[in-house]
């Protein structure tokens, strides 16, 4: 069973899974459901997170979520209109001019509005956590490799930018050190301004060298494509992506499901995929060790969609179950369909292929056939 061998799952599968969870989270302010989504995401990250620098981003996203909740609450306290009657405390009201009558600064803070603010902030935090989960489960470079051939140039630009950034930082510190060696300001605005020009020149130089290196390695060889096909490609890709956006908006934004959302989403997806396929044909590139899309990928993607579907279905049947009810103040419900859907999304923690062992372990006791041929020419 090749499907059961330890391997890295296709990064696209993780992203679709996480987007499914995020879609589910965006439809609800029910803290129980949100908490469940967060728990599922955390569980899967803990179980299937590779050991790499980029995979430590989950906790960063969690902290970012806490900041978002805090900001949301502060805004509620300072600016929000009170709902309900359980007043917690009253801040002095700052009188505002007439033309700002819609705004209110300070005043009463009620338990109800505070709870609503916390739940709303929590939803944003869970959305962030879903993105963080995808970030730490799927290697960004593998994701870029999996980009459709039509978007290849964009992918290369991103990769180059990612390797450029750390080098730019290194350049900057080097040049600032050099300024200090000449007895000039190396800190503050003056130092930064003086260092900018040499760093910029260096970056430009490097960009030109990289471009020439890529050219001499065959970058930009293309097949012949008639102009008509190229135009149709652009039309399909852009039109399709627009359709996808509008469809998703219809699906996720309103509480009432728009009947056009699903067909539009499907049509947009089809057009975009068609366009990318057409565009991919002009490129003669091949892929080295591309990640396969097998049964586990379908499964992981499916569980993410199940979570979204469960929540959306609940929203159609019983919209009240998805919101935090504060008037009257009630303990939130736990709707069955949505709960099952979200719990399904935890399955990848158990059934997704295990991760391969790290390189050092894998090669322990392995052959040393690759040992360098150095020292043969020690005469130099």
């Amino acid at each position: 069973m090749a499907n059961r061998l330890p391997r890295y799952l296709h990064p696209g599968a993780w992203w679709l899974w996480a987007l499914g969870l995020a879609a589910a989270a965006s439809k609800t302010t029910n803290p129980l459901l949100l908490g469940l989504i967060l728990a599922v995401a955390a569980l899967v990250v803990a179980a299937r997170k590779p050991d790499a620098p980029w995979s430590r981003s989950f906790s960063f996203f969690l902290k970012l979520g806490l900041v978002v909740i805090a900001i949301r609450v502060v805004f509620q306290v300072l600016l929000g209109n009170p709902i309900g009657s359980n007043v917690l405390f009253t801040l002095p009201t700052v009188p505002l001019p007439d033309w700002m009558a819609a705004l209110r600064l300070g005043g009463q803070l009620t338990l109800e509005s505070l709870l609503l603010a916390i739940c709303d902030g929590f939803r944003l935090a869970v959305l962030l956590a879903c993105v963080g989960a995808a970030n730490s489960l799927a290697s960004p470079s593998r994701l870029l490799k999996a980009m459709p051939a039509a978007l290849y140039e964009v992918g290369v630009a991103i990769v180059v930018a990612m390797t450029f950034a750390p080098q730019l930082v290194a350049d900057l510190s080097r040049v600032r050190q050099a300024r200090r060696l000449r007895g000039r300001a190396d800190k503050g605005i003056k130092g930064a301004a003086g260092a900018a020009m040499p760093v910029f020149e260096g970056a430009l130089d490097r960009a030109i060298t990289l471009a020439s290196a890529m050219d001499s390695r065959g970058y930009g060889r293309t097949g012949q494509v008639p102009i008509g096909v190229r135009r149709v490609t652009v039309l399909l890709v852009i039109g399709g992506l627009l359709g996808v956006c509008i469809g998703l908006f219809g699906l996720l934004s309103t509480s009432q499901l728009s009947p056009l959302a699903f067909p539009l989403l499907a049509a947009g997806l089809l057009a975009a995929i068609g366009g990318m396929w057409l565009g991919g044909r002009r490129s003669i590139r091949t892929r080295y060790r591309s990640d396969p899309w097998r049964l586990p990928e379908w499964g992981v993607m499916g569980t993410g969609i199940a979570a979204a579907a469960g929540v959306i279905a609940t929203g159609i049947v019983d919209p009240a179950a998805l919101t935090m009810s504060v008037t009257p103040l009630q303990w939130p419900q736990l709707p069955l369909v949505a709960t099952v859907g979200i719990l399904l999304a935890a399955l990848p923690a158990l059934v997704a292929p295990e991760l391969p062992a790290p390189a050092q372990v894998r090669r322990r006791g392995g052959s040393r056939a690759g040992a360098p041929v150095e020292r043969m020419a020690a005469a130099g």
């Binding site: 470079s141 490799k145 290369v156 990769v159 180059v160 990612m162 390797t163 750390p166 080098q167 080097r174 040049v175 050190q177 050099a178 300024r179 200090r180 060696l181 000449r182 007895g183 000039r184 300001a185 190396d186 003086g194 020009m197 040499p198 490097r206 060298t209 990289l210 471009a211 020439s212 290196a213 890529m214 050219d215 001499s216 390695r217 065959g218 970058y219 930009g220 060889r221 003669i284 590139r285 091949t286 892929r287 080295y288 060790r289 591309s290 390189a359 090669r363 056939a369 690759g370 040992a371 360098p372 041929v373 150095e374 020292r375 043969m376 020419a377 020690a378 005469a379 130099g380």
Partner: protein, 551 residues
Amino acid sequence: MIHFNDVTITYPEAPAPALSNVDLTIEEGELALLVGRTGCGKSTLLRAVNGLVPHFTGGLLTGAVTVDGRDTRTHPPRELADIVGMVPQDPMSGFVTDTVEEELAYGMEALGIAPQTMRRRVEDILDLLGLAEIRDRSILSLSGGQRQRTAIGSVLTTNPSVLVLDEPTSALDPGAAEEVLAAIQRLVFDLGLTVLMAEHRLERVVQYADRLVVIENDGAVVHGEPALLLASAPVAPPVVELGRRIGLNPLPLSVRDARRATAAIRRELAPQSSADAPGQNSPTSLAQSRQDHQRPVGTVKHLSVLYGKFAAVADLSTEIRPGEIVALMGRNGAGKSTLLNTLVGLRKADLGSVTVGPDNEDPFGMPGSELLNRVGLVPQEAGDMLYAQTVADECAAADRDARTAPGTVRALLERFAPGIDDNTHPRDLSEGQRLCLVLAIVLSAQPPLLLLDEPTRGLDYPGKRNFTAVLQQLAEDGHGIVMATHDVELVASTATRVLIVADGELVADGPTAEVVVSSPMFAPQISKVLRPTSLLTVDQAVAAIDLVQAR
């Protein structure tokens, strides 16, 4: 394999052609070595092989360059990618992806090679170049030699028949350089690859070359057998120079050849030189006795510098006295640059202490303007210190920085590198001239301690000879000098003392002759040839041999 047919290349707005009337043929399976002074057009010639010149750089090329029957006029670089593998001077600048394995596959992906073939070739190249152990590693984490081998591997996967390398070992320590050269040699011998390579460090590569291509100063090209060309060439590695001066025929190109040719001389030399113990009346020991009672210009006491849990410098102690030229040697990443940076106050001493100047002050946190007249550093990228648009502006700005009389820096520059035009842009200077300009700037405030990080990296032999003379003058003026370097020949000819660091620890500290002679890695060519004597330079060797033969 490579044909240049009456090629003249002129860059736009250049007064004279970069290369003129080049006729050159490199046969299949040859290892051709391209030499010439800096800025003479070596890179231009190399980049013309796959059409980067003029397709990428612009300029006018007359005549014809053909590689394996393909004319570069009709084939831009990307259409030659499957027959010419081009390794740029700085391998980092040519990497597109972030791991070794993907970098190897990148070129093949661009050429549209079938996935199964790609997989097999990547495995082959990983083994061939000894990269299998580091296949998953991020490129940023590799050592210099590994990077260079990865760069070579990344162009080999497309199965080219020609490999073009621009200074593949200039930035490497002796060990890493051997690693890379051994790999190249293997490609030539086992795979029959045609290799065209430019290199300043002739002593490292000349013995492997089948053909020497010399670019003269006027852009003309001479080529032929290395031994024949070197007999009269103005530049030659020490072993060849020795052969020429004591009249060996055929001229030895490698240490091995020279040892075999000098067996008789060495037998006579051995008892004689063991009689006068190493360096009894050499300039080294004279300088040594003069310095011992002088106050040090820099002191390092039990210094440790940490990056997290990694000790870049570990419990290192030494003193630098006026008039000394101390060579700091060791692998890339052994802690040389960290030590220099700490001495100049760019890094804090985590444990122990570093002091400079007459009052033994800690350089860390000292304002830049005060630092100037205690210690000066010429960094590895000397160009980082140049900001102005002309040499004259740069010198004037340095005078203001150091608060010296106007014209001081210009006068120093004139002394180090005479005849530079005031209106030249610092970027247009040759590598050696730029080094002298930075040196003049750093010395404007008369720091007693002068630090140099890899000063001779881009210098050719004449540039190096000039720089050596400048260094010796400065030492005589009473500057204490520390230079981190991989250049064993430079060390042999200038240094009075050698420090060898490994993993941040000081493993050897002593007079040059004692330290380098016993080290297989850091010994200069002459010392390897005339082992077990302690002769280091051609001049010393010739003098000793003359003495023996006169007797």
